[in-house]
């Protein structure tokens, strides 16, 4: 997929998600522009992660429409595997494939899905590893890496599929504080390169510095939305004020 | 926990007491060897052996308990000293006497022969070539089959009870079986199963005897012999045979 092909790679309208009787996402609509970095903040249980996972259908939404790169992914019969190849996802707990080394982790999907030849996939993998600063770990196994290293490898793995969109689900929440920085650095560079990103995070500093737009979610609803300046310096909604007072 | 342990211990002591208080001899027999021993519709253990033993014991004035353990289990129990003797349609043979069986006088005569499935198409030993034959472990039927095995080229499988043996033939697993002729005849008649005895396949046969496995049980054998002579003389023996065989 060429960058810049879709003005709004992500278009969500009136999304709802229920877990049994519980409504965890309530009428969320969001259009993300190409190259935009959107950060979603909010208390635990607000539905932030669930919302993110609905975008690549790791969770099935109950109602509403999601359109990725002009493909309506919520339509039944859509080839979701194909859509997922255009979206990279980075998880809170890294989820590196423990039965293979770093290089294989990176090469598995591109080679298996035949989106690249073995040589070209290897080249891309090495390039991505270089980009996240872990070239020397090419033959290491996941259990030999620190948390920060694992997450950087995870980012590299997602990038090997050359996605248009990157989704980050609390990427630094499981990291020891001293490793948070190295991961945020990589993410900042990605943003600077013009990647379309949605980041669910508790790192307010990152949101303030890098985001084009910040969404505050609570109780499954977007209570306030705006630029980082607006959200952090001039919060309006009482719950947002309350939240910020606790985390900042 | 302590209460439970005490209860278990008490139960165990009671069981041991019951066993040692059990008066008289412990006699064992086969489970299904009609008409010599079998269970009737009410679940009671009946048969020629059962009645003969009862008559002999009454005549000689001794007490006993009779348990149906199964054929090879009975032999094992007597051997181990857990039972005193067995009455189970056991053929008196020299081979067995040499192996330590001590027999009473014979009380019934029987041959072993071959029975086949009605549709198996076996008319004689020659038709057994390459086929499978079923027998019961440790019986004269098994001995007989083993003596013919090499010559006629068949395989033998060993099952634990007579019904299992017949079932194998009926279901087609085996084409034939070797067992005591009167037992097979009785089974075929009473159950109307598609099996038949093959003429001309009977061996010399032997007498059935009550058996013990140790010289210290000789007194029991002597009592049996005395009782047997008695019931033959006074007509009880004939009545028993008529009851199960006469019709």
């Amino acid at each position: 997929m060429e960058r810049g092909k879709y003005e709004f790679p992500i278009r969500v309208s009136h999304l709802y998600k229920d877990f049994g009787d519980q409504r965890v996402i309530r009428d969320i609509s969001l259009n993300v522009r190409e190259g935009e970095v959107v950060c979603i903040i909010g208390p635990s249980g607000s539905g932030k992660s669930t919302f993110l996972r609905c975008l690549n259908r790791l969770e099935e939404s109950t109602e509403g429409k999601i359109v990725i790169n002009d493909v309506e992914v919520t339509r039944p019969g859509v080839d979701i595997n194909n859509v997922r190849r255009q979206i990279g996802m980075v998880f809170q707990h890294f989820n590196l494939f423990s039965n293979m080394n770093v290089l294989r982790n990176l090469m598995l999907a591109p080679v298996d899905l035949k989106v690249a030849s073995v040589q070209s996939a290897r080249q891309t993998a090495l390039a991505m590893l270089e980009r996240v600063g872990l070239s020397e770990k090419v033959s290491a196994f996941p259990d030999e890496l620190s948390g920060g290293q694992k997450q950087r490898v995870a980012i590299a793995r997602a990038l090997c599929m050359k996605p248009d969109i990157m989704l980050f689900d609390e990427p630094t929440s499981a990291l020891d504080p001293e490793m948070v920085g190295e991961v945020l650095e990589v993410m900042k560079e990605l943003a600077a390169d013009g990647m379309t990103m949605i980041v669910v995070t508790h790192e307010m500093g990152f949101a303030r510095e890098v985001a084009d737009r910040v969404l505050f979610m609570d109780g499954g609803v977007v209570l306030e939305e705006g630029t980082p300046e607006e959200i952090f310096s001039h919060p309006q909604h009482p719950r947002l004020c309350d939240f910020l007072s606790k985390v900042l | 926990m302590k209460k439970l342990m005490t209860l278990v211990l008490a139960m165990m002591l009671l069981a041991v007491a019951a066993l040692s208080l059990a008066d008289g001899y412990t006699i064992v027999t086969d489970t299904a060897f009609r008409p010599f021993e079998y269970t009737d519709e009410t679940g009671a253990l009946v048969g020629i052996d059962v009645d003969i033993l009862a008559a002999v014991a009454a005549d000689q004035g001794f007490e006993y308990t009779l348990t149906a353990l199964g054929w090879d289990a009975s032999i094992a129990a007597c051997q181990a000293g857990q039972a005193d003797g067995m009455i189970a349609g056991a053929s008196i043979t020299d081979a067995r006497k040499e192996s330590g069986w001590i027999f009473s006088d014979g009380y019934f005569s029987a041959t072993q022969s071959m029975a086949v499935g009605a549709d198996a198409g076996i008319a004689g030993f020659d038709d057994l070539k390459g086929k499978t034959v079923a027998v019961k472990i440790g019986t004269q039927g098994a001995e007989y089959a083993e003596s013919l095995k090499e010559k006629y080229g068949f395989d033998i499988i060993y099952l634990e009870s007579s019904p299992d043996v017949y079932q194998s033939v009926i279901s087609g697993m085996a084409v034939a079986c070797f067992e005591d002729s009167p037992i097979m005849a009785d089974y075929i008649k009473s159950n109307g199963v598609p099996m038949k005895l093959v003429d001309g396949t009977a061996n010399e046969g032997a007498d059935y005897g009550f058996a013990v496995f140790s010289k210290d049980k000789q007194d029991l054998v002597d009592k049996f012999n005395a009782g047997l002579a008695s019931i033959r003389a006074n007509g009880t023996y004939d009545k028993i045979l008529a009851k199960y065989l006469g019709e």
Binding site: L58, S98, A158 | S99, Y158, E160, S171, M173
Partner: protein, 226 residues
């Protein structure tokens, strides 16, 4: 004691051979059955999970000796006598293999299910999020990890299956226990015969357990399996 070894030794060894052969056949088919049923029990399709569950509970809920009688005597009786379809026969080996395969297969299925479920859900999620289809993800990521955890349990199951072959003595299969009963009926040396048979099983099983430990060690050290 000597007589048993010299006269019946070869027969008993042959019977042990039959025992091992039967156990191997049984285990082979059990692995296949176990794989299929085990994977069915973790699929998203509810029907698959229910069928798998019924199979496992049915087989595990019945003592193997009942299954043996059922397969060997009952099934042909059903076909030949009740349904009058005639000509359905199973040799003791066939019936024994079916019985062992079903029994061991049900336990294998549980081992495999547990193995698959022990792989963190995130592994499958990460694979799917890259665009890999379900079966590819299973094949490349989930199953390789699952198998590593399952191997000790599988070897253990083989040992249990080996001992369970003794149950098949009741259908006349010439394995070690059936043959031992025969030897006892001819020699009347219960104690010696059963002692020897016990030792034979012991030796074979000890060897298997050592092999199991070696495999486990190999997995721990060279655990780089891709």
């Amino acid at each position: 004691m000597g007589k048993i070894i010299t006269v019946y030794g070869p027969l008993l060894l042959q019977a042990m051979g039959h025992t091992l052969l039967l156990a191997l056949y049984g285990l082979f088919f059990a692995c296949i059955i176990g794989m299929i049923v085990g994977i069915m029990s973790v699929l998203r399709s509810r029907i698959c999970r229910v069928i798998a569950g019924i199979f496992v509970n049915l087989i595990r809920g019945v003592p193997m000796i009942v299954l043996a009688y059922f397969v060997y005597f009952g099934v042909p009786y059903l076909f030949n006598t009740i349904l009058n379809m005639g000509g359905v026969t199973l040799s003791a080996l066939q019936a024994g293999t079916i019985c062992l395969s079903l029994n061991c297969g049900a336990y294998m299925a549980e081992i495999i299910r547990a193995g698959i479920e022990s792989v963190p859900a995130g592994q499958m999620e990460a694979a799917r999020s890259l665009g890999l289809p379900y079966w590819r993800s299973m094949q490349r990521v989930v199953l390789p990890q699952a198998i590593r955890t399952m191997i000790p349990s599988i070897i253990n199951q083989f040992i249990i299956t080996l001992k369970d072959t003794s149950i098949l003595s009741v259908i006349g299969f010439p394995e070690l226990v059936n043959t031992a009963k025969n030897v006892v009926s001819k020699t009347f040396m219960s104690f010696q015969t059963w002692a020897i048979v016990g030792i034979m099983y012991l030796i074979v099983i000890l060897i298997l357990q050592q092999a199991a430990k070696a495999v486990e060690r190999r997995l721990k050290n060279g655990k780089r399996k891709v």
